[in-house]
Amino acid sequence: MPSDKKKHRPVLVQVETPNLIPERDLGSIPVLQAEHLGIDFGGLTAVDDFNIAMGRTEISGLIGPNGAGKTTIFNLLTNVYKPTRGTVLIDGYDTAGKSVADVNRMGIARTFQNIRLFSKMTVEQNVLVGFGNTMKTHLITDMLRLPGHWKQEAEFHDRALELLDIFDMRTYADTLAGNLPYGAQRRLEILRALATGPKVLLLDEPAAGMNPAETEELMENIQKIRDEFQIAILLIEHDMSLVMGVCEVVGVLDYGKIIAKGTPEQIQNDPRVIEAYLGKQEVK
């Protein structure tokens, strides 16, 4: 099995992976699938036996106490960390041995817990960096300003502004990203990720530092993105109102292991989840 791991071709998936919800339609192949994913840092097992299979347009959530390994999972899915065990398949393609940029090109885009924008570039330029792989001009065409350059720049200028329109950020197009208000920076990060044309969007605590009204708006936006772009979204969040409001499936992580998964309702009543967050109930 591991011999053809590195080849960039669809792998037939035996869906032995326990889906988060069995009856959900995954299409022919799940857009994102991880099997038995795990990583050790020295002797410490940070993530162990993580499985996920996501449908094309599914919104899933990953919750868990601090230090449970949620962001580590994002880093594993995007190949920032090389998994010690297990495989990640994007649309049936194995990501083993691919660089982070390649994994992005294969269809995963992400945002970061602590905002990572190109702060000395303008908002529009931030989005254009995301479009970078869709733009095809050769370096010489660009340097000599041949007609192809102008055509492409004009096209992507429009596309970038259209993308900014989603969050009503067109007026900020020429502002330096670092000068944006906090909420707008978070939105811009999502837009930059969308510009790369992902099939799966990973959001790492998108609501961190937002007030309830902004969280409400973000919730609508997440659904809007899913509907407009027809992509799957996996998010890490501590804000329960967001997770319970927007996610169709929720997985709970504790000490690097999934301890429960299911619909938000199931999760809210799961004794294991309550134990992980609040500690064990005294038996009277």
Partner: protein, 388 residues
């Protein structure tokens, strides 16, 4: 002089920061911007050439001017790796020397082969000009190849480590130049004796034509998807990678382009001074170029060019006080680093088109000041949206 430099500069990154624009602004069409800048460059070149022909600029002064041009190219090209890519290579003189030797040897050999004499190079017959241009490109390519060879291993490292490894590579290049003849039995660089008899093909027109062209090419590269990828790596490498930027490729690209132009500058330098010795291209030369970039402001092409100009002319002007000039030089550096650590111009870049557009839009700084003062008086603070 300053004006002349400014004409060649165009903005790399629009500094933005003007906040949300109210209503549509009038814009200069791209063709007009390019035309204006091209005309200005031509005017400066013609005026300079006329002044040299007419004797308003002495032979000595024009030689200094040529050196200024060479250093401008060096500083502006190092600025790609330092200011735009955000790395700190210390081996720029190494690339310069590869280009200088490559170009000088190419020109000398081709001159012999095609029967173009030393004199033809100084007067500039069509064939000799062709050879020189081919030689500059050849020198640039040699330096670019050196850039690839050095860049691929070196760019895996960051910060101090990158500085040290590039420094070491530059020293290797210098030693190779020194010993290649005796080891391999060629007559290429002539080792420590120095390569003499290089035709003096560098002229004001050639050097500053190259300055304009190099600035143009760097500008156009930085204002394209390639340049944006390079700037993205500087701003946040992890995010750039996650946004699909192939960081290894773009780092190497920036490094190689930087090396290529350094090679071109080296070729011009060879034609300017006529003798090449490996000792010219030591560690201090790299530092000198780096100081120009840091002093002018990392990421500002105009800043690099201005400080290259000042730092080349200053030692010449202070020749009378040669005992003190290093002290002056050091004091200037210390003062700048204390009071303006981001460099004289920071990341500001001059754009003539932007100024013309401002005039077209009646958008003057003093007007804005009055506006914001009026706003404050009306009790409208900073945008209510801003928090944290």
């Amino acid at each position: 002089m300053e004006e002349e430099l400014m004409n060649k500069k165009r903005p790399i990154i629009s500094t933005g920061g003007r906040g949300p624009a109210a209503g549509e602004k009038k814009r200069l069409p791209m063709a007009a911007r390019y035309a204006i800048n091209a005309v200005l460059v031509l005017v400066v070149l013609v005026i300079g050439e006329l002044m040299i022909d007419g004797g308003a600029i002495t032979r000595y002064q024009s030689t200094v001017l040529e050196q200024v041009g060479v250093y401008i190219i060096l500083a502006v090209s190092l600025n790609i790796a330092t200011g735009y890519l955000g790395q700190l290579p210390l081996g720029h003189a190494g690339f310069m020397s590869v280009g200088a030797y490559g170009c000088a040897i190419f020109v000398m050999r081709m001159g012999d082969l095609l029967g173009v004499g030393m004199r033809d190079f100084t007067t500039g017959t069509p064939l000799s000009i062709l050879i020189v241009i081919a030689g500059l490109v050849f020198g640039g390519l040699c330096a670019a190849i050196a850039g690839v060879i050095i860049g691929i291993p070196a760019l895996r490292l960051k910060g101090d480590y990158l500085a040290i490894i590039t420094l070491a590579f530059a020293e290797i290049i210098r030693v190779v130049m020194l010993n290649i003849d005796s080891v391999l039995g060629f007559t290429l660089t002539r080792g420590a004796k120095g390569l003499t008899g290089i035709p003096g093909y560098s002229s004001f027109l050639l050097v500053f034509g190259c300055v304009a062209l190099v600035c143009f090419l760097i500008h156009t590269m930085m204002k394209s998807r390639h340049g944006r990828a390079i700037l993205a790596i500087r701003d946040n490498e992890i995010a750039a990678e996650a946004s699909g930027v192939n960081t290894t490729y773009y780092k190497t690209l920036a490094f190689v382009v930087s090396a290529f132009f350094a090679g071109v500058a080296g070729g011009l330098y060879a034609g300017c001074i006529g003798v090449l010795q490996p000792a010219y291209f030591g560690f201090m030369k790299s530092i000198e170029i780096l100081v120009m970039v840091v002093l002018g402001g990392m990421g500002s092409m105009l800043g690099s060019a201005l400080s290259a100009t000042v730092l080349t002319i200053l030692p010449e002007a202070l020749r009378a006080f040669s005992e003190y000039r290093m002290i002056v030089y050091a004091v200037v550096l210390i003062l700048v680093m204390i009071f303006r650590p981001q460099g004289l111009l920071g990341s500001y870049d001059f754009s003539l088109s932007r100024i013309i557009e401002r005039v077209m839009n009646r958008d003057f700084p003093w007007k804005k000041k009055a506006e914001s003062a009026a706003k404050e008086a009306a009790g409208e603070g900073v945008s209510a949206d801003a928090e944290r």
